[in-house]
């Protein structure tokens, strides 16, 4: 949840203080709204509802308070509570389902909680329910439901910003509860660091955002917000198993074995006095639908929140993940698309990831709070490509101090300082150390009831010890304007940059196989500029539509480049590129209890400036349509996803390329605390490539059961 400033008000000194508690529920079903956000208007004080929808705000002085209650998918509500004559007030608050997500509180857009409706940049939110419904094994797969997102191999793209840069660094900054979690060597994301079931929601900030988060936020930020501990005992489980169908091309059949997968997830949460704890354990196994497609993953995550007596709290989080998987790098040939070349048969990869952070928050007054964070990220590749003992763990250490200050009801200022240190060592890029130091300031200014202005700047210094020092000033400005009650216009301008990763600069592999990799230590940082403007429009109670126009310009994009005359590769910088486009999203609830339709589409023009040549690995169009039908205890939904063919690729340009046309079908039945699910993924058994010579997942069927007690 939006955890930054929450739960401060609990357990305050008892000196003539009062308490507001209550329950937030769905008006139509009476169901408690876990994760609903309750905030005292004009302050940093607030709480997040537990699984039963309960909240408590204690230690309040006698006064009249205005509470704002908001939850994704429901219309926000404000209530007035008078604590002048009584010590305790218990409120029952009902929220009305709404077609829009605007009343969600987000933290990614400005480094402090704000309403999604007022966000100056394009931000999308994906909640746990949507992720669970799609039964995604990995977070990046779950994110495909977000407008403008597509995958190129393992590279997640926001509006085409990343392309496909293989072992190159991510052009999207990935955060876990605001903590940067890109690996220190590759500068990339291990998407298996937390199971999908431990995630409460994901906020996706589109476009350059280095003024907020520094290096890496070149084309966007993905902030994974994990579930908080509940105030009451809570046990959840999820069991799912399925089989892969035969390929639609009979000649591709490569084994007579039954190919299957299964997953198990457990979650437990409880509160012991001031200490709330939550643990999630998950296991996933798949034979894969192809040769060298097997994986076996374990995850353990824990999160605790300790409410301290002096208006402060302490949050601890750890996660351990173990991922043992085969690597399908390319098919043997198109006519054997589910087989690998014999030389690739031993490509097995093990990754052990450990991640932890501790955050201390202190509320000095209702208008002044501070946060101190320390984080540790260790990723150890095990036996990639038979290269035992060639790698040391990639270590990322980071710290942050941030002060939130509200000097005036219309001004909210965040001042902060980020520090990061990367330590990596491998036979192929040597021992490398890097330090990053970054002060920043952000302000949200409520100019009037209709206008909001966001401004900020950040100065990053990134130094590779014994090598280069790079600096970058990243400004940002944006506004939102509400000319009519149901209309919001927004505009934002921002800059982004990404320092080349250690691998991109120093990776050097002498020939011994097919390909030689040549180091390029002088690689300059990638830089980007974003212009983004749009309109959010609500029509009645049933329709929400959003239209956004964007232009992103990129300089010095780093691409792994194959020498035309010999099979040697090197990371090289490419000249200026531009991606412009339009994005549309529609959420239509004909009758919320019976039928909903979600649709989104993104048109893009990704080109090199000057030559007009298309940028590699970017589609021109991405679209998703999801009709959902509710009938008593039953629900059914279809996802249809279309991605236009990639116009340009770098390695096998002669290969046939087709659009992505995937439809997934899911049916659910709810009975008491249980939900039974049946799902077909890639129901048309459609064949397409996710990256060059790598086929997308073939049709599979699964059944599952979810339980919450």
């Amino acid at each position: 949840m939006a955890i930054l400033t929450l739960v401060f008000t609990q357990h305050l000194p008892a000196q003539s203080t009062g308490e507001i508690s209550g329950r937030v529920a769905n008006r139509e079903t009476g169901e408690g709204l876990a994760g609903a956000h309750v905030q005292i208007v004009g302050t940093f004080a607030g709480d997040v509802c537990d699984r039963n929808g309960r909240f408590t705000l204690s230690g309040l002085k006698p006064a009249v308070y205005r509470l704002k209650i908001s939850f994704m998918g429901f219309a926000a509500k404000e209530i007035r509570v008078d604590l002048r004559t009584v010590r305790k007030v218990n409120e029952k608050i009902f929220l009305q389902a709404a077609p829009i997500l605007l009343d969600q509180v987000i933290v990614t857009g400005s480094r402090q909680p704000e309403d999604l409706s007022a966000a100056v940049a394009s931000v999308s939110v994906l909640n746990a329910r949507e992720m669970e419904a799609r039964n995604s094994f990995r977070l990046d797969d779950a994110l495909l439901a977000v407008p403008g997102i597509n995958l190129a191999g393992d590279n997640i793209n926001i509006r085409g910003g990343s392309g496909y840069n293989r072992l190159g660094g991510s052009r999207i900054l990935v955060l876990l509860d605001d903590v940067p979690v890109l690996t220190s060597d590759l500068g990339n994301m291990n998407w298996n660091v937390v199971p999908v079931t431990a995630v409460d929601h994901v906020e996706v900030l589109k476009g350059a955002a280095s003024s907020l988060y520094g290096s890496g936020a070149l084309s966007g930020v993905i902030n994974i917000i994990t579930k908080n501990p509940n105030s009451h005992p809570d046990f959840q489980f999820r069991q799912n198993a399925g089989i892969f169908d035969r390929p639609s091309v009979p000649r591709w059949k490569w084994t007579d074995r039954t190919l299957y997968f299964h997953r198990t997830d457990f979650g437990y949460s409880d509160r012991f006095g001031p200490l709330g704890v939550r643990f999630d354990l998950a296991h996933q196994f798949s034979t894969g639908d192809r040769e060298m497609g097997r994986f076996n993953r374990w995850f353990l995550t824990g999160k605790s929140k300790l409410v301290l007596p002096d208006r402060s709290n302490l949050t601890l989080f750890f996660s351990y993940s173990y991922d043992d998987r085969d690597l399908f790098l390319r098919w043997l040939r198109q006519n054997n698309a589910l087989n690998v070349p014999p030389s690739d048969r031993g490509n097995r990869f093990k990754l052990r990831g450990a991640l932890g952070y501790v955050v201390y928050r202190q509320l000095f007054s209702s208008t002044l709070s501070a946060k101190v964070r320390l984080a540790y990220n260790r990723q150890l590749p095990g036996v990639p490509f038979h290269l035992t003992s060639s790698f040391r763990p990639a270590l990322g250490l980071s710290g942050q101090v941030q002060i939130n200050w509200q000097p005036h009801p219309d001004h909210r200022i965040s001042l902060g300082f980020d520090y990061s240190r990367d330590q990596v060592a491998a036979k192929y890029y040597g021992k490398r150390y890097a330090n990053g130091v970054s002060p920043y300031i952000q302000e949200i200014w409520k100019v009037s009831r209709r206008w909001q202005l966001n401004m900020g700047a950040r100065y990053d210094t990134y130094s590779l010890v014994g090598d280069s020092v790079e600096t970058q000033l990243s400004p940002r400005i944006g506004f939102s304007f509400q000319p009519l009650p149901a209309t919001i216009l927004h505009f934002s301008f921002g800059k982004g940059f990404r320092a080349a990763s250690v691998v991109e600069r120093y990776l050097s592999v002498e020939s011994g196989g097919d390909v030689r990799v040549i180091a390029n230590p002088q690689l300059p940082p990638e830089r980007s500029t974003l212009w983004d403007t749009g309109i959010r429009q609500t029509l009645g109670r049933s329709v929400f539509a959003e239209l956004t126009a964007f232009v992103s310009e990129y300089d010095n994009l780093i691409e792994l480049t194959l020498s035309p005359q010999s099979l040697s590769v090197q990371y090289l910088s490419y000249p200026r590129a531009r991606i412009s486009g339009l994005e549309a999203a529609l959420r239509w609830k004909f009758r919320p209890e019976h039928f909903t339709l979600n649709a989104n589409a993104t048109w893009m023009k990704p080109v090199f400036v000057g030559s007009g040549e298309p940028l590699p690995y970017r589609p021109r169009f991405i679209g998703l349509v999801t009709p959902q039908f509710f009938f008593g205890h039953f629900n059914a939904a279809v996802d249809f996803r279309y991605v236009s063919p990639i116009e340009k690729v770098m390695v096998y340009p002669k290969d046939e390329r087709v659009p992505v046309k995937i439809w997934n079908l899911r049916i659910g039945y709810k009975w008491r605390n249980l939900e039974f699910k049946f799902m077909v993924r890639n129901a048309g058994n459609y064949n397409y490539t996710v990256s060059e010579r790598v086929l997308g997942e073939i049709r599979n069927f699964s059944v599952g059961i979810d339980g919450k007690f």
Partner: protein, 173 residues
């Protein structure tokens, strides 16, 4: 009635989506060039050769081809036989050269390491076919494009005579 209405909307949506995605996308690649690779002067085969592959190129290998212009066979030629079959699956198009190239052990690929090409007779130093090989949807398989490879053409950097004899200046490559 309301439920029926929404059920109908769902079914119509499903059907329209289904009809839109009724094709199955990628399938088998059926267009290819086939033939034999025939080695001569096997006694001169140097140890530094790691493997031999067949490539089809849309433009001359001397004219800075990119991978855009090249298609490489899926597997190397069997070096243990003096004659073996090859096939290169290629998209429809016109290929000005179908050649065998060799890769040196522990070295990078070099697409100019040509050991033989279709249309050239290294025994008599003559060209018998200089026309491009054309693959189309109407002619999906072009067979009999035999490549005679002379191990003495393995160029090790000490001279250029062999390669020049493969690409004489009076022939358009």
């Amino acid at each position: 009635m309301i439920r029926l209405k929404y059920l109908t909307i769902t079914l119509v949506t499903l059907l329209s989506v289904g009809s839109f995605s009724c094709d199955t996308g990628l399938g088998l690649l059926e267009t290819k060039i086939t033939g034999k690779v025939i080695f001569i002067n096997s006694a001169k085969r140097p140890d530094l050769v790691e493997s031999v592959w067949v490539v089809a190129a849309a433009k001359s290998l001397f004219n800075n081809p990119t991978l855009n212009d090249l298609v490489i066979s899926d597997r190397p030629v069997n070096l243990n036989k003096d004659s073996s079959e090859y096939e290169v699956f290629v998209p429809p198009g016109s290929y000005v050269i179908v050649a065998a190239i060799w890769k040196q052990k522990d070295k990078d690929w070099n697409f100019l390491n040509i050991i033989g090409r279709y249309g050239y007779d290294p025994v008599h130093f003559t060209y018998f076919d200089t026309q491009p090989v054309v693959i189309s949807d109407r002619q999906k398989v072009v067979s009999g494009k035999d490549i005679i490879c002379d191990w003495s053409f393995v160029f090790t950097g000490s001279g250029n005579n062999a390669r020049e004899s493969l690409f004489p200046s009076n022939v358009n490559h």
